[in-house]
C-alpha cells in the first residue's frame, strides 16, 4: 500500500514538474510581437527582374523615398476660432482675441518647426538605412537573384540559376525516356568564355535514351552561354528528371 502510494506520489510530482517545465518553455502569456517587413528586394534593385546575366546592372537609382505622412508625434493643429466670435466682437473680447491670436500663431510656428525637424530626422534615418543596404549589397554581391545579396548585375547574378534556366529550355526540346523514373546527375564545367568544356554523368538510373536526351540538352544549352561572373570557370551539378516524376533514391 505504502509502496503504491509513494510510486503514485512520485509520478504525480513528475507530471507536475513536467507541466511546470513545459509552461516555462512555452509561456501562455507570451506577447505577440507584430512583425514589420522591409521590402529589401525592391529597395536596391530598380528592376525586380535584374539579376539575369543579360540584364545590365543594378546601378539604377534608388526608388524615391516614401511620402512623409503626418507623424503621430506631431503637435495637434490649433483649434479654429468659432464663427460666433468673429461676428460679435466686443472690446474685451477683441483684446482677448489678440492675445489668443498671438498665442496660436506662436504655437503654430512651433508646431511647424517641430514637424520640419521630425521630417528631416526621419528622412536622414531613411537615407542612412538605404546607404547601409547599398553598402551591404555591394560588398556581398553573389547571392541568388532577387535576394538582398543579389547585385542584379552580370558579375553578381546567380549564374547557377541562369545555367539551370538555359538547360531547362533545351531539355524541353530533347526530353525522351523509356523507363519509369529516369534520373541523371550531370556535372558541368563551363570555362571563362561560357563554353561547356566537360560534362560528366555522375549518376544515372540507366535509361540510355534519357541520358542521350540530357546530353543533347546540355549541348544545346551550351551553345550560347554567357560567360560566368568575373570570367571564372564555373562548375555545377545538375539533376535531370521528367517533370512530375519523383524518385526517392537514385
Amino acid at each position: 500500500m505504502g509502496v503504491s502510494f509513494s510510486i503514485s506520489a512520485v509520478i504525480h510530482l513528475a507530471v507536475f514538474l513536467l507541466l511546470l517545465w513545459w509552461g516555462q518553455l512555452f509561456p501562455t502569456t507570451a506577447t505577440v510581437q507584430e512583425t514589420y517587413y522591409v521590402d529589401v528586394v525592391n529597395l536596391p534593385v530598380a528592376n525586380p527582374r535584374a539579376g539575369s546575366p543579360t540584364q545590365k546592372g543594378n546601378d539604377a537609382e534608388a526608388p524615391p523615398p516614401p511620402q512623409t505622412h503626418e507623424s503621430p508625434l506631431s503637435m495637434p493643429s490649433p483649434p479654429q476660432p468659432s464663427t460666433k466670435a468673429r461676428t460679435a466682437p466686443t472690446g474685451k473680447a477683441q483684446k482677448a482675441e489678440k492675445t489668443e491670436k498671438a498665442d496660436t500663431s506662436s504655437d503654430a510656428a512651433f508646431a511647424e518647426k517641430m514637424a520640419k525637424l521630425e521630417s528631416k530626422a526621419e528622412s536622414q534615418q531613411q537615407e542612412a538605412a538605404l546607404e547601409r543596404l547599398r553598402k551591404k549589397v555591394k560588398t556581398t554581391g553573389s547571392g541568388r537573384t532577387g535576394m538582398p545579396a543579389g547585385s542584379g548585375s552580370e558579375a553578381g547574378s546567380d549564374y547557377t540559376a541562369y545555367v539551370q534556366s538555359r538547360l531547362k529550355d533545351a531539355f524541353y526540346q530533347t526530353i525522351s525516356y523509356t523507363s519509369k523514373n529516369p534520373e541523371v546527375v550531370v556535372h558541368l564545367y563551363i570555362d571563362a568564355d561560357g563554353k561547356v568544356t566537360r560534362q560528366k554523368i555522375e549518376k544515372s538510373s540507366g535509361d540510355r535514351t534519357f541520358e542521350l536526351s540530357v546530353l543533347r540538352a546540355v549541348e544545346k544549352a551550351g551553345d550560347k552561354l554567357v560567360p560566368p561572373p568575373n570570367h571564372k570557370v564555373f562548375e555545377g551539378t545538375f539533376v535531370f528528371k521528367p517533370k512530375g516524376i519523383s524518385r526517392n533514391k537514385l
Binding site: T160, V163, Q164, L167, K168, F171, Y172, Q173, T174, I175, S176, Y177, T178, V185, R208, T209, E211, L212, S213, R216, A217, E219, K220, D223, G236, T237, F238, V239, F240, K241, P242, K243, G244
Partner: protein, 426 residues
C-alpha cells in the same frame, strides 16, 4: 532541453541527409518521341538505281518506327554538294520541318557491288552521331540498312537493335508444313526444309547456326537438327511416341523436349547429340513445351496436372515445381524473355487465343493482343519485340509487336499460312 535537441535531431537530420545539397534540378514535362527524317540516299554514280535508294530509306524508316523510339518519315533528298564526306549539311530546313534527327546516306552501285554510307545527325545540335560505311553485294542492300538501324538503337538505348536477326517459322507456301526463315521484317524468305511432310516447333541454337524441329517425315514425330548452311537433317531423338517441342539450353549443351516413350508426354533433357535422356517430370498428366530461362537454371513448361493446361516452372533438374499462371483455364506456349524477367504465353478464352506476358514470379499478368486468335509468342533477342502467329480474317501469319503490345503488324508475306515463329539470336 536535451530531449528537445534529441527530437530535433531525430526529425530534422534524416530530412537533411535525404536532400541533395548542391544538386540543381532540371525538369521538363512529357516524353517526346523523337522525329527522325530519313532522307532518300544520294546516288554517287550513274549506275545507281532510284528504287534501291528508296528501299534503303523504307527499311530504315520501318525499323525506326517499329522501335517506338522515333517517328521516322522518308524525305526527298536535299542538295548535298561535295558528298557526305566533304559537304556540309544545312540543318535549318530539317529543323524548320520539326525534325530532331536526320539520316543521310549516299551509295554507289558498280555491277553487282554496292557501297553505302549512312550517317545519323542530331539536327538540334548540328552534330554527327554515327557514320557507317558498308561494302558488299546488291543483295545486301536491306541488310546494310538494318545493320545501320542496329547502330542507331545502340546509340539511342545503349543496346544494339535486333534488326539483322531472323525469324524461323512454319510456312505452308509449298503446300506442306515446312520450316522457313525470313528477315525480322518478313523479307528474304528462305525455305529450309523441303521434305514434303509435317514439320513443327523450330528453335534456334544459342549460336544461331542450327535449328531443331520436329518432323513427321518418317511417320513418327521425331526431333531433328540441321545447320542453316546445310541441307542435312540429323535425327536427334526418334524414340517411340512423341519427340516434340525441343528447346536449346542457353549454353547449347542440352535440349529440353517432351517425350512420350514411357506412356504420357513428360519433360526430358537430352545432350546436343541426342544422347543421355534425363527425365525431369514424373506425373500422370501431359507435360509439353519446355523453355529455358536465360540463365539456364529454370524451365517453364505446360502441364495439365490440375485438369487444364497451365504454365509451370521448375528448376533445371526437375525439382521445385510451382505453378506460374493462376488465371485463365487454358494457358500454353510459354517463352522466357531474354532478360529473364517475363514469360510470354498464349491463353485461350472465348474460343480464341491471346498473347499474355507475366512476370517470372507470377505477378503482372497482362494481355497484349485483343483481336483475332494469337499463339506461339517468341521474343526478339533484345526483348524489345514479340513475334507471334495470328489469324485475323485471312490466313494465319507471323506478326510482330513491341513487348508492351503496341505496334502489331503482319510481317510474313506471300501465300500460305505462317505459324510457330522462333526468333534467332543476334
Amino acid at each position: 532541453m536535451k530531449l528537445l535537441l534529441t527530437l530535433m535531431l531525430l526529425f530534422v537530420l534524416p530530412t537533411a541527409l535525404h536532400a541533395q545539397p548542391g544538386y540543381v534540378e532540371v525538369t521538363a514535362p512529357g516524353n517526346r518521341q523523337l522525329k527522325l527524317a530519313v532522307e532518300i540516299p544520294h546516288a554517287q554514280n550513274a549506275a545507281s538505281s532510284a528504287s534501291a535508294a528508296k528501299e534503303m530509306a523504307s527499311v530504315i524508316a520501318f525499323d525506326m518506327n517499329m522501335s517506338g523510339l522515333a517517328n521516322a518519315e522518308i524525305r526527298e533528298p536535299l542538295p548535298l554538294a561535295g558528298g557526305l564526306m566533304f559537304g556540309a549539311t544545312d540543318f535549318a530546313p530539317w529543323l524548320a520541318a520539326g525534325f530532331d534527327m536526320l539520316v543521310r546516306g549516299e551509295y554507289s552501285i558498280s555491277g553487282d557491288n554496292l557501297t553505302v554510307e549512312f550517317r545519323l545527325y542530331d539536327a538540334l545540335n548540328n552534330k554527327m552521331m554515327i557514320a557507317k560505311r558498308y561494302l558488299g553485294k546488291n543483295r545486301d542492300l536491306r541488310r546494310f540498312a538494318h545493320s545501320f538501324c542496329d547502330e542507331v538503337l545502340l546509340q539511342m538505348t545503349g543496346e544494339r537493335g535486333p534488326f539483322t536477326t531472323h525469324i524461323a517459322f512454319i510456312s505452308t507456301q509449298s503446300g506442306n508444313k515446312e520450316v522457313a526463315v525470313m528477315d525480322w521484317d518478313g523479307h528474304n524468305l528462305l525455305p529450309l526444309t523441303r521434305n514434303g511432310s509435317i514439320n513443327l516447333n523450330p528453335d534456334f541454337s544459342p549460336d544461331g547456326r542450327e535449328i531443331v524441329f520436329t518432323s513427321y517425315k518418317r511417320g513418327n514425330p521425331d526431333l531433328y537438327k540441321r545447320a542453316l548452311s546445310s541441307t542435312v537433317e540429323i535425327p536427334l531423338s526418334k524414340r517411340k511416341g512423341l519427340n516434340i517441342t525441343g528447346a536449346w539450353s542457353p549454353d547449347g549443351t542440352k535440349i529440353a523436349l517432351a517425350l512420350s516413350k514411357d506412356g504420357n508426354a513428360e519433360i526430358y533433357t537430352i545432350a546436343r547429340d541426342g544422347s543421355n535422356p534425363v527425365r525431369l517430370t514424373v506425373n500422370p498428366a501431359i507435360e509439353v513445351s519446355p523453355v529455358w530461362s536465360p540463365d539456364g537454371k529454370r524451365i517453364a513448361f505446360v502441364s495439365d496436372r490440375l485438369g487444364k493446361p497451365q504454365i509451370f516452372v521448375m528448376d533445371a533438374n526437375g525439382g521445385n515445381v510451382r505453378r506460374l499462371t493462376t488465371a485463365g483455364g487454358y494457358n500454353v506456349n510459354p517463352r522466357w524473355s531474354p532478360k529473364g524477367d517475363k514469360i510470354a504465353y498464349a491463353r485461350m478464352h472465348g474460343g480464341a487465343f491471346h498473347i499474355y506476358v507475366i512476370n517470372a514470379d507470377g505477378s503482372g499478368d497482362t494481355q497484349l493482343t485483343t483481336t483475332g486468335s494469337n499463339e506461339n509468342p517468341a521474343w526478339s533477342p533484345d526483348g524489345r519485340f514479340i513475334a507471334f502467329s495470328s489469324k485475323r480474317g485471312g490466313p494465319d501469319g507471323i506478326y510482330v509487336m513491341r513487348a508492351d503490345g503496341s505496334g502489331q503488324i503482319r510481317v510474313s508475306q506471300g501465300k500460305g499460312n505462317g505459324s510457330q515463329p522462333a526468333w534467332s539470336v543476334r
